[in-house]
Structures are given as structure tokens and as C-alpha cells.
Symmetry: C2
Subunit: 499 residues, 2 copies
């Protein structure tokens, strides 16, 4: 068989897997949006069946042989190399895990989710502990199967952010941690921001209309996607031409739903922008979780929380909510939505304190995976770090070490991708500001097309062709560093708080 | 391996197939309700991939061997026998067709659908003819593969209505045809019904609210289902605890959307009522298309178009549409929604003329499949029958022989299941009226729980355990006949039209 025929065959084999993965994404989207409550048992079974078939198809010997034969082909194109790199990565990851461990982990995390949910409601870490211990134990076994040089954490993290290691994270987050703690200290000593104007009732329909309008303005394509309501906002790709976002609305929170919409639209525009030629291959995906998060945060935080953005949108927002914002000027509004306040809950955190939440989780999961922290002592260790970094006394474990679902799902090595997103987008913004010299003026006119085109050209279209570090180097010319983020945060908040 | 282990294994094998079929149902439901337009290509691909895997899994040699070994088990229960009967039927049907023919038919019907749609818009049978000829040709090959005693029609129809033959249909529909033509003749000579009051604008939201309320009243469980909007109303089962219905609304048609909702709720309650022990087996389905249709039509036409039903609901309807129905009394309303008027379009037909539309299609497809009618002469043959049975001159083929999608999809042998539904429900109603002596009084009070319980007991719970004729014999004690339907139609419309 000729090489081009083999490539064709491998693409066909993977194409079916991609169809099944997108089908699974639809099952999951539906589960979180429209599925009737009595269907939960059937749905779990359907997802399990589909996962099993996907796993089976990913690990057929035919797949492994084709990859192996094609890897030695001379003169591969950049895209072909990337295609084989991803095929190899997925194949090796899957075959390295014994079927028994995969099943045990699936069963345990499925149970653990329910136990976590219940224990969190009861604020009882004791009820959660045995299950978390089992998940940690199995997760460490997974890391051993994958193998690693320095820490089991590295073996797990690379699933989310290819090539990320604990050492790299320490080098990036260490300086960020120290500068953030110092920035928060200075903010504490300054004048408070008055956010009383946000404390009103905001019509849900108007919120929805405004959100859809903004997402459209930014460039999210509603003909290749849609927006629905779910308990937790998310973005999901159900195939070429079908990238859906969700949001949630609260009558008492104007900014949350809107900026959650902008966040998810950021994820959505990325996936919508990937070269359609990569459809049904592993390249038809974002570079990594961190790069993906850089795009959602770029739109949500860097643009959506900026003063030029609201110079354009505040007058419109006043029209959507007549009488509710008439006396709030741009300066007041901007400061109001950028208030910094240390809190217990990661997902409610402002952009300054946010990274400290991540750093705490990273430090703890390193200790857990290295065997330096027994699960029974997790609450104490958690609370000590919240005291140390954020100056807070955690009142109970439900708003403490049980607040996130990640560990219950066995997702260790995941949290730092959130901060990586912030680090990446600070670097990207710096470059973009240089290359589109009047970009903020464009934002202040509600003119986003050049920004979108820049991102499309530099990031979106490439899908997963480049790995994170390579992509960032191509765009910024620099190695990954948290300097840009530190500088941006210090500068923005020094201005807001007059430091 | 013991017999009980073999049964377990066969159930597990089929359970995965059932999960995939339900997943395919979700892909299709989504396609018709919420899917963004740019996803159509990906979605077709995903459905094709899933169909391929389902076909493969249905025809594994392991499946065939297990069925064969279990069939010789002594002392099988009724349910086990039915389970094996369905497994055998599905297996044999699948393995009898050469893969090449399956693919050719799939490709041809997929193309044919688009060609039909376009040709219908252009009112050009000429543009549709070559494609229909190919589909007919392939469908006849399918019938040859399945084999038959008398007519190729029989080989195809049994997919929709197990054991139905052209001979049986002729015996059932012949008397129905003659009595219907005579009834219509008598109606033509009588006083017209005044339906001017229906010609108003009806608020869509109120229509939706009223429809949901009625469906709930009847017993459709919204916690195990939901209602959405689609171009053509349908019901789909996405697994145990998840049976969804759709409808459509028109501002100018009050009755259409409401009674479409009642129709689909009838399908939905049937599927929701199947014994959950049959989940993920071929028994977790309606007995046949005809029995399914008997249930939707029973609620829609027999109950939803009855006077007692509107004695209860008309006052409520007046409240939903204040000022719009105040001067319309129950007699007027009842006669208005039961107007008989021969027309060109099957799906808009009243219950008297409806069966003639079916009879015309049945007579034509018999001729086509037996080789007695060449496709080029189909329009003439169609128009001649509409003249003969309904007294109408068909103005063009779009409202003539191209109005239905069925033949373009290769669904020959399907149409009579609609009339079978009417025949069955007339027989069932007769029995129910005997066994629930004050049933119409209950309906007039909006009290449906005993009717639902009767249907649940006699029909719903059994799923596909009994074949249609056996089920009807168990319930009514009689062989299938159109006598009850003929008698009901004559009696109802003699009263309405004072014949």
C-alpha cells in the first residue's frame, strides 16, 4: 500500500472515532441542557457504551501499525507530522493503561462524583475522604503506567497541556505568586471601590438579548453554533460547523452571565476558526487547555473587562436596562466590575486573586501525588495556604478543599492550565498591541474584526498543529514567562486603585 | 456456557446496539430541533458512522450463533421467546442483504431525498423520475433478497407491520374504500359546516401553554420527556425515561398544533409505558407501526376530536383566547373541527377521507412493485385514482404523486400502517367502551386516568412482546377487521351531517 493510501486509511479510521467523540459530546451537551430528569440512568449507560467503543477503536493493532509505518515516511509536511504526533500520543496513552485500571478508574470516579456532591452539601470531608483516597491511589497508578522523569504530576499534566511539568509550573507561578501577594497587600490599604450600583434586579430576557448581541459583535457565528442555558457554562464542539456555548443567568448578577457568555464565545470562536481541512482529525481541536483558556480569558478579562470595551457598550447597556445605570459613569462602572477582593471560591475570584487559588491547588496536588500529604490532612493544609496567601480563615470544607469537582473526577494536573491561560494571553496581548497599534481605539468603537482576524491567523486556524510552546514562540518570539502577566496586573490595578 | 449466561451475553451484546440506536435517535432529534445550519454535513457523517457500527454489531457471527443456540432451549418464557423472535428477525433481515446493496440503497435514497425536495419545489416530476426509478429498482432487489410468497410488497411491509401482506390489506381496505366513497357522497349532499370561527389569529405562546397542559392532563410525563418545535411533528425514544415529542405552531391554525401535540403525546405515552425491564432489548418498542399509530390516533382523533373532550376543554380554551371563542358553542365547535372535505394532501385530510389517500398509495405501490406500472406513468395513474375515489382533478404533481417523502426514502409498504392504526383503534375503542362503561362521561370531565390505565395494561406495558394480530386478539377477542372503523365513521358523520 502506498504512503498516501496509508494516510487515507488512517484518516478514515480516525474519522470514525472523531464522529463518535462528537456524538458523545452531543450526549453530554444534551445531558446538561435539555435531557429530562428520568433519563439520567440511560444516558450514563449510553455514554459508557460509546466511550468503550471509542477506546476499542483507538487501540486496534491496525491503528498502531499504520502509525508506526507512516512515522518513517520521508518528507512529511508540517501538518502530516503533527497528525502523526497526535495519533501516536493518543495511541500510546491508551495502550499504556491496562483495561482493568481504565475500568476501575471510570467506576470509581463515577461514584466519587456522587459522593463528593453529597459530602459537599453536608460539609463533611469525612464522608468524602475514603472515595478521594481511592481516586488518588488509582490516579497515581495511572501516572506510574505512563511513566515520568521527575514527578508523577508531570505524567498526568501532559494530557491537558502537552509538555508541561511541575518544574516549569513552579518557575512560572512562583514569581506570579509573590507579586500577586504584594499587589493584594497594597490594594488592601487603598480606597474601596463602590459597587453598590450592581446590587439591583436585572431582567433575565434583557440579559440574554444583550449577551447574544455582544457575542455576535465579537464574531461568534450563531449559524455554526448556538447558546443555551446550563448549570455551569461550557463550550463544546459537536463537529465541523457546530460549536455550542452555554451560559447561566442570575437576576441579581448583571456581569456574571454577560462575561460568562463572552468567555464561552472566546472558546467558541477558537473552535469555529480551526481550518476545516482538519475536520475529523486530532488536529481539529485547540492547541491545549491552556491555549484554549488564553482565548476565553482574552475576550472575557482582557477585552470584556477593559475600559474601552465599556466605553462602547455602557451606553447600549443603559438602553437595555433603562433607569438602572443612568447615573453610573464609565469610570465608576469600570472600577466596579474590576473590584479586587480575596474570597474562598475560585470560580468567583477576580483576575488578581484568581491565580492564587490555582497556586494553592497546584502546591497541594504536588504534595498529594508525591506522597508528602495524606488525604486526611488535606483540609488543614488547604486552610493553612488560604490563610497564608489570601489572609482568609476558611469556615468549612464545602467552601474549602471540597469546592471543586476536578479531584473527584481524577483530574490532577489540570488546575494550572487556568493560570497558563492567563500567562499566555498576557504575552499574546503584548504582541497584539504592537502589531495592531490602535487596537484599543478599535475596541472602544466596538470594532473587533481586526482582533479576530489576528487571532484567526495566529492561533485559531492552526488547531492542534503546533504544541503550546512552539505556538507561543511563533507568535511572540519569546519563551513562556509570567513577566507580561505580572506587569499587566500591576499596571492595571495600580491605576484603578491609585497605588 | 449455561443458557442463562448465554441469554445474559446476548442481552449485553444487544444492549450496546440499543444504546447506539438511541444515540442515533438523539443525533436525529437534534438535527430536527436545535442543530445549527452549518452542521448539516458533519451530522450526516456522524449518523452514517453510527449506522455502520450498528449494522456491523447486528450481524456479528457471535450474535447469530448465540441466537441459534438459545432458540433450542426448552421451556422458554413468553418474554424470552419474544426476545429471541425479535433478535432472529433483525439478524436475518440484516444478513440477507448484501453489504453492497445496503450501501447503494443508502446512497441512492440520501441523494433521492434532495432530488425529490428540489423537484417538488419545481413541480417537475420529470426531474424526480430517474431517481425514483433507481430507488424502486433497488427496493425490488431488496424484496428479492428477503423473499416472499405472493408479492414483493409483502417482503417489504413486514418491516413496518410484522406479517402484514397485500392480500390482508386488500381484504381490510376494500370494504373501507367502498363505504368511505359512499359516505362522502352522502356528506356532499348535506348542509355545510360553518368553520369561519377558526379563521382568526391565535397567539403562539398561548397555543404552546394550552398544548402542554392538555398533554400533561392526558398523562404524558414531562419528567421523562419534553416538547420542542420541529418542521414536522414526531416522537422519538432516546432511551428508558426519555421519550420526546415535537410539534409546530401556526398563528392561523388553532387546532392543528394542539391536536398534533395530542397525537404525538399518544405515541409518547405508549413508549413511556413500556415495561422498563425490557430496556435495551428489541422488546422496548411499540408492537408495530400500525399499533403505534392506533395509539396516537386514538388520543388525537377518537378522544381529541370527540364532543365529550371539548365539553371539558372548550371553556378552558375560551380562557386562553379571551374574546375569540365566546360565541361558539360546543355543537358548533365540534362540527367545525370535524369537517369532512376531500382534498389533495394526505397529511391535511380529515379522518373520513384520510383512508382513501392511503388506499390510492397502496394500490399504486402494488402495481409499481409487481411491475405493472412504469414510473413514467405514475402521475397519470395517481391523478386517475384521485379523480375516481375523491372526485378531484390534481392540478400538479407537487400536490399529487410527489407530495410524500416515503417513496423517495425507499419506504414501500409503509403507507397502509396509517390505516391499520385507524382500523386497530376502532376495534380497541369498541372494547374499551364495553370495559369502561362510563368512559365518555369520564372524558367529558377531563378524567383520563382510567383510559390511560386500560391502555397501559392492555398495550403499553407489553412493548413488542406480542405481534400485532396476537395483541389485538388478546384484547378484543376478534380477528382484525375494518368493520368497527366503518361502523364508527358512518355513525359519527351521519350524526354530524344529519344523514
Amino acid at each position: 500500500m502506498s504512503e498516501s493510501k496509508k494516510f487515507q486509511q488512517l484518516r478514515t479510521l480516525y474519522g470514525e472515532i472523531a464522529d463518535l467523540c462528537h456524538t458523545e459530546a452531543l450526549l453530554s451537551w444534551d445531558q446538561q441542557t435539555y435531557m429530562p430528569p428520568k433519563a439520567s440512568g440511560s444516558r450514563a449507560q449510553q455514554i459508557a457504551t460509546l466511550s468503550g467503543i471509542i477506546h476499542e477503536k483507538l487501540t486496534t493493532p491496525e491503528m498502531g501499525e499504520l502509525i508506526g509505518e507512516l512515522e518513517s515516511t520521508p518528507r512529511l509536511s508540517v501538518v502530516q507530522k503533527a497528525f502523526l504526533r497526535e495519533m501516536r500520543f493518543n495511541y500510546d496513552r491508551k495502550v499504556l493503561l491496562p483495561g482493568k485500571l481504565v475500568k476501575e478508574l471510570a467506576r470509581e470516579t463515577a461514584q466519587s462524583f456522587g459522593i463528593w456532591e453529597k459530602a459537599k452539601n453536608q460539609k463533611s470531608f469525612k464522608a468524602y475522604r475514603p472515595s478521594l483516597e481511592k481516586v488518588v491511589n488509582l490516579t497515581r497508578q495511572v501516572a506510574e503506567c505512563y511513566g515520568y522523569k521527575n514527578s508523577p504530576w508531570d505524567a498526568l499534566a501532559t494530557d491537558y497541556e502537552r509538555g508541561l511539568t511541575a518544574e516549569k509550573v513552579e518557575n512560572l507561578l512562583g514569581p506570579l505568586r509573590d507579586s500577586t501577594i504584594s499587589l493584594i497587600d497594597r490594594i488592601k490599604g487603598s480606597t474601596k471601590v463602590n459597587i453598590k450600583f450592581l446590587d439591583q434586579k436585572w431582567d433575565l430576557n434583557k440579559q440574554r438579548e444583550f449577551g447574544v448581541r455582544v457575542a455576535s459583535d465579537l464574531g461568534y457565528d450563531f449559524a455554526a453554533g448556538r447558546q443555551d442555558v446550563s448549570a455551569h457554562p461550557f463550550t463544546t464542539s459537536i463537529g465541523q460547523g457546530d460549536v455550542r456555548i452555554t451560559t447561566r443567568y442570575s437576576e441579581t448578577n448583571l456581569v456574571e452571565a454577560l462575561l460568562a457568555t463572552v468567555h464561552e464565545a472566546g472558546h467558541g470562536m477558537y473552535d469555529q476558526g480551526i481550518n476545516p481541512d482538519y475536520a475529523r482529525t486530532p488536529l481539529h481541536d485547540g492547541t491545549s487547555l491552556g491555549i484554549h483558556e488564553s482565548q476565553s480569558r482574552l475576550w472575557e478579562v482582557r477585552i470584556g473587562h477593559s475600559k474601552p470595551f465599556w466605553e462602547h457598550y455602557l451606553p447600549h447597556l443603559r438602553q437595555y436596562f433603562p433607569g438602572q445605570l443612568d447615573e453610573i459613569n464609565i469610570e465608576h462602572f469600570y472600577r466596579g466590575i474590576n473590584q479586587v477582593r480575596p474570597g474562598f471560591i475560585r470560580i468567583e475570584a477576580d483576575e488578581v486573586t484568581y491565580n492564587l487559588h490555582i497556586i494553592i491547588r497546584f502546591e497541594l496536588e504536588m504534595k498529594i501525588l508525591n506522597g508528602d500529604l495524606e488525604i486526611q490532612y488535606l483540609p488543614e493544609a488547604w486552610n493553612a495556604l488560604y490563610k497564608k496567601y489570601l489572609g482568609l480563615d476558611v469556615p468549612n470544607d464545602a467552601v474549602g478543599c471540597m469546592q471543586d469537582v476536578h479531584w473527584a473526577c481524577g483530574s490532577f494536573g489540570y488546575f494550572p492550565t487556568y493560570s497558563m491561560g492567563n500567562i499566555y494571553n498576557a504575552m499574546l496581548l503584548e504582541t497584539m498591541e504592537n502589531e495592531i497599534s490602535d487596537m484599543w481605539q478599535q475596541v472602544s468603537k466596538g470594532y473587533f474584526v481586526n482582533i479576530l482576524a489576528w487571532l484567526q491567523d495566529k492561533i485559531y486556524q492552526h488547531g492542534r498543529v503546533y504544541l503550546p510552546e512552539e505556538l507561543m514562540k511563533r507568535i511572540t518570539g519569546k519563551p513562556i514567562s509570567s513577566d507580561s502577566l505580572v506587569q499587566y496586573l500591576n499596571s492595571k490595578y495600580s491605576t484603578i486603585y491609585g497605588l
